[in-house]
Amino acid sequence: MKHFLIIWSLLFVSFPAQAVIEMRTFADSAQEDRYKALINELRCLVCQNQNLADSNADLAKDLREQTYKMITSGASDAEIVNYMVARYGDFVLYRPPFKSTTLPLWIGPFVLLGLGILGLALVIRRRNRTPDEALSDVERTQVRHLLDRDD
């Protein structure tokens, strides 16, 4: 009974989620802001739908460490991003750059939207253009017959 009560009460206890981020010390808050912005922008390669900030993967830890080291040694944001892209490709960026290989990614949705609008316009136009079928003579007499009928 005692065990049951303990387990039952434990169900109502919640623990705060463990933060992934390591303790870091920066020379100034600008550096810290840049660090946070960068690890939020860079993708974890192992668990691909997480950024470096959220990921607990070993590699993400290493890359956070690398980002930290580069920031504190005075590298610019562009230098850090280039460092990552040179090693892991555009894939590390959540916002891929605009270039030939990523072109479909950027303009694809607009092309599809355009095609959709075009298709819709064609359908509507065709529908408007076809006149209502005129009744044939036989149908005309049938209709007259029905209308004239006494019920």
Binding site: D58, Y88, L112
Partner: protein, 165 residues
């Protein structure tokens, strides 16, 4: 149209991130050899030869599956396989090779994974094929299967070997 996109989506493997190193010079490193820490290994040691860099670790389960395939490749004796022992303990690594056999001409120890980052490694095992000029020609992510060895890796190595100027 949806079906087409879904079809393409099914064929693509999201884990296969295109490597920015293909057709670029192999990144530098100078790391101690697993079996002789006094000797440093570097990509330059293999200039003039087609060689493979295989990233492995004793903690990596998929590497175990790949190991037999690598031994097959070593038996072909067409190109040296250099191991990059990634974030491993040298003792564990040596024991692993003793138990399973050693297909590597030598293995470089990358304890902190720094060289791994320079090579864009994100999932062990990974294998790079490097040509005589030190240019990376191919990257394989994940364990190489026997089929991939015979359909892709061996033909590629043979083609590269013939390109020798």
């Amino acid at each position: 149209m949806l079906v087409v996109f879904l079809g393409i989506g099914l064929k693509l493997d999201p884990r296969e991130v295109p490597s920015p190193f293909i057709d670029k010079p192999a990144p530098e490193f100078s790391l101690p050899s697993l079996h002789n820490v006094d000797v440093n290994l570097s990509p330059q040691d293999f200039t003039g030869r087609v060689w493979l860099l295989n990233v492995w670790a004793s903690w990596c389960v998929a590497c175990r599956a790949e190991h037999e395939v690598l031994k097959d490749l070593a038996r072909e004796d067409i190109a040296p396989i250099i191991g990059l022992n990634y974030k491993d303990r040298p003792g564990d690594a040596k024991r692993w090779l003793q138990q399973l056999g050693d297909p590597y001409q030598s293995s470089a120890i990358d304890v902190d994974g720094k060289v791994g980052i320079d090579w864009g490694v994100y999932g062990v095992p990974e294998t790079f094929v490097i040509d005589q000029q030190g240019i990376v020609r191919y990257k394989h992510i994940g364990p190489i299967t026997a089929e991939e060895l015979h359909s892709t890796i061996i033909p590629l190595v043979n083609t590269l070997r013939q390109n020798k100027a």
